[in-house]
């Protein structure tokens, strides 16, 4: 049943966002303040072109299939950038480099697993849920030459993922409660 699958998907998206939060905290533990100044603004994330709801009223008006389509589009848009993050993590000039590298591995696994789940879910929610917006990442494989730009671009990319994973988590949890109409205590 869809309710069950949405419950599992919300568990995975919850974990995914929590992972991105712990990763950000690891990074922030040794992050040069100047790096924050040279970091690109959040509006420059490669997914910012995707129109998403920005408050509760807007979110609750979006149809189930559109909410799922938004979540899938965001998730799929991170397949390539996560590889770039993962590769760059191996040479990241940061004292917690190996922890960050392992956490990114875990993040990739969770992203793939959640993606599989959303594919199955969309198959059960009709054609409209199948549409996926294509959000290409044009940042290239190299996140910078010198130490500072590497850290700043890594942090920027991660902050974009953190925001998007929170969107995915919120959309799936709204979907989960709509599906749980028969079990009000679930929400």
């Amino acid at each position: 049943p869809i309710g069950d699958l949405l419950d599992r998907a919300s568990q995975r998206s919850d974990k995914l966002h929590s992972l991105s939060t712990t990763l950000t905290q690891e990074l922030d533990s040794h992050f040069p303040p100047i790096g924050r100044a040279i970091m690109p603004r959040p509006s420059m994330c490669h997914t910012s072109s995707l129109q998403t709801p920005n408050d509760k009223e807007q979110a609750l008006q979006v149809s189930e299939s559109d909410l799922l389509s938004l979540a899938r589009s965001l998730l799929k848009s991170w397949a390539d950038p996560l590889v770039i993050l993962s590769v760059s993590a191996n040479t990241l000039p940061h004292p917690a480099q190996s922890t960050i590298s392992n956490k990114l591995q875990e993040l990739q696994e969770h992203t793939k697993n959640l993606g599989d789940g959303l594919d199955v879910l969309s198959g059960k929610m009709g054609p409209a849920a199948q549409t996926v917006s294509f959000l290409p990442y044009s940042g290239g494989n190299d996140i910078g030459q010198d130490r500072l730009s590497k850290l700043a671009n890594f942090h920027f990319l991660l902050s974009c993922f953190r925001r998007d994973s929170h969107k995915i988590d919120s959309f799936l949890k709204v979907l989960r409660c709509r599906a749980a109409k028969m079990q009000p205590e679930m929400c």
Binding site: R41, L175, C177, C187
Partner: protein, 210 residues
């Protein structure tokens, strides 16, 4: 002298729909000083001023639903002004998704029940009124803590997303204090709810049970 530098101390949203920021004034330079809060919203050039200085009390700015967007960066500063000049606080960047701190759970009820003639406590509660858990816009997890009235150490239990929690292994005849708090899936713990007192009846199982 011109006013001292004010400091934005914190911003919190109780339900991911509105939020409030508070600031700490600097020295007032011995002159009447006014405070104004300004903010920039991601990819919008306009500088906005605080929409409501009153609702949340002194040295605060309240952002109602219409003035609150999620997943959008707010860059906020406070300016102190008196006759001799103005001083700006350091700017603070916030995104409402990271500052959610709910009000405590409500209607905390504690009843004494029995399971195979062992008493246990059934604690139940409701989410804070403003938090819309029903639509799924906010997901709360709860913690319950309990202690004997005369003792100091609390026993804390993570209750997950449930709104009922059973507590076993009680001291026969003991008077307990129970409190509950909640946290959004990604945010800050609320304060503990007010205390609920309950007395466990005396139960004797073995001849010398305590």
């Amino acid at each position: 002298s011109p006013p001292g530098k004010p400091t934005l101390t914190s911003c919190r949203s109780p339900e991911k729909e509105t939020f409030t920021c508070w600031w700490e004034p600097g020295s007032d330079g011995g002159l009447p000083t006014t405070y104004r809060l300004f903010y920039l919203k991601e990819n919008i050039e306009t500088v906005y001023e605080c929409p409501d200085y009153l609702t949340a009390g002194e040295n605060s700015c309240f952002f109602s639903k219409n003035n609150t967007s999620i997943w959008v960066n707010y860059n906020i500063t406070v300016v102190a002004t008196n006759e001799l000049g103005s001083t700006m606080s350091d700017p603070v960047d916030i995104d409402v998704m990271y500052i959610v701190m709910p009000h405590p759970p409500e209607k905390v009820l504690v009843s004494v029940l029995e399971d195979k003639d062992w008493p246990f406590l059934r604690v139940s509660w409701e989410p804070p009124q403003k938090a819309d858990t029903r639509s799924g816009w906010i997901t709360l997890v709860y913690e319950v803590r309990i202690k004997l009235e005369e003792k100091d150490d609390w026993e804390v239990h993570l209750a997950g997303q449930q709104r009922v929690f059973n507590i076993f292994s009680l001291l026969s005849g003991g008077t307990y204090i129970v409190q509950v708090r909640c946290k959004p899936d990604h945010g800050f713990w609320s304060e503990w709810s007010s205390s609920t007192y309950v007395k466990v009846p005396n139960y004797f199982h073995r001849e010398n049970s305590v």
